[in-house]
Amino acid sequence: MKREIAVVGMIVCLAGGFLAGWFIPPLFTAEPTERKTLLEEIQDQGYIMVGTDEPWPPFEIFNVTADEWQGFDIDLSAMIAVHLGVALIMTDMDFDLLIGACKAGSIDMIAAAMMVTSTRAEQLAHSVPYIRVNEVVIVQSVSTINITSLTEITAYTVGVQSGTTQHDTLKDLGMTEGVNLLVYPKADVLMAALDLGTIDAAFVDEPVFTVYAKTYAFKSIFTVPAEPTALWCRWEEPELMKEINKVILNAFGDGSMDLLIEKWFG
């Protein structure tokens, strides 16, 4: 019996230590003297983990018919993976969690049509911007809503995806979540809600609107120029960022970026 109590006690101590480790990390944060860079680690393990938020076509979507990831960001990530000589593993999660996950090290890089903003740049390092898209306010085709400035949209009920720059913009305009601003974690729920009519308008990236307009009867009523879009990884890994930038700049140089843009936005 004593031995059993010891075993059980050990389990409890493990669990306790686990929690203690959570709350008192400083005790353990002795700087490792020789640390492998993420780049070396990626090449050691033979794959790169890229975080994204599906669906956000044409940037990223999982095509169930072809059983593969597709989209502009996916192709770009694949180019980087080829350049590094490793496999590409896509990880799908909610958009607003990507930055935290990347900071925590769950993913190596973010490729999720994430625009460059100063608050994000405080957290993570961004690559050379690879595309610049507009943000659009969209409504049902039959809708009579018409606006001449973005502020006027606050008179209606607008849906956005959680954690996007659009979410931030509208919140800054003084809209209230649940009253006239509805926040959805997934883009397809947002689009379905607009079609259903539970929201009057949605505020999204223009290419995304273009894709969904093929299925739904939507129209764009106002266009806002937006920040450029880039790939992101941790500040502590400049080696990896250097390689990422190299790939993007090469793609601009040899025209493959133009081909990509033609393929997905053409």
Binding site: V12, F28, N63, S106
Partner: protein
């Protein structure tokens, strides 16, 4: 063919079911089985601590139960799956039980499910241990068995049988909770259904409905078989408190 330029023909009902099954079932089953087993080990140890341990052990175990029964599974999954690497790098070093980074979210979800299920299973086993007729232990001790021997050879075999009906309910809970793994991008059954609906927006309700039916088919027969039948069998054997 590029998806955005030519939207393929929407799949029919059978194809949706097939896709969800082939794509999602393995992950759902792995998570459920591992979560239940992990929870079993934790739950049984906790239950024994609560019933036979001293005051301190009892206090520890019930504290653990309160903690993991009180935190939503979504938050648990989240914390374990996304910040696990961070945590391990801080606490132990650069390795995370030697688990490759690509499997860490899966491992995190497993941990969340097992830790949570452990807290619930502890209650199940504690109830079962307490409902074994107290005369059984007395009789075993009267034969000269030590307390541990009595527990292992007489009480636990009976308690585990008594726990089967509630345990089959716990199976249904874990298999449904495993659907929250979709928030960290693990493609289990619900996520597979969401993938279909993100490809074919008009199939929203259909694919969610199909996945609901699949869950029902996975849970109902088992809870039925182990729940009601087992209860009846136990009654015939005359087990359980009297």
């Amino acid at each position: 063919m590029v998806w955005v330029n030519s939207i393929p023909k929407p799949p029919n009902l059978a194809e949706i079911g097939f896709y969800i099954f082939v794509k999602g079932l393995p992950r759902t089953l792995i998570l459920t089985v591992l979560g239940l087993l992990g929870g079993f080990v934790i739950g049984l140890s906790l239950a024994i601590m609560r019933v036979y341990g001293g005051k301190e052990l009892n206090w520890l175990a019930s504290g653990y139960e309160k903690l993991f029964r009180g935190i939503p599974i979504l938050v648990l999954i989240f914390v374990f799956a996304i910040y696990l690497t961070n945590l391990y790098e801080i606490c132990i070093g650069d390795t995370c039980f030697g688990i490759e980074p690509q499997y860490r979210p899966l491992f995190g979800v497993f941990l969340a499910l097992a830790l949570r299920s452990g807290a619930y299973q502890s209650q199940i086993f504690r109830g079962a241990l307490l409902s074994v007729n107290p005369g059984q232990e007395e009789a075993a001790r009267a034969l000269g068995m030590s307390r541990f021997q009595a527990l292992r050879t007489i009480l636990l075999p009976q308690a585990l049988r008594l726990a089967v009906p509630s345990w089959s309910n716990e199976y249904a809970v874990v298999i449904k909770d495993s659907s929250f793994a979709l928030t960290v991008g693990i493609v289990e059954m619900t996520n597979a259904a969401l993938q279909i609906s993100s490809n074919f927006v008009e199939l929203w309700a259909v694919s969610i409905g199909v996945v609901a039916i699949l869950y029902f088919l996975l849970t109902y027969p088992i809870t039925r078989l182990f729940g009601e039948r087992q209860t009846k069998k136990l009654k015939e054997l005359g087990m359980g408190g009297g």
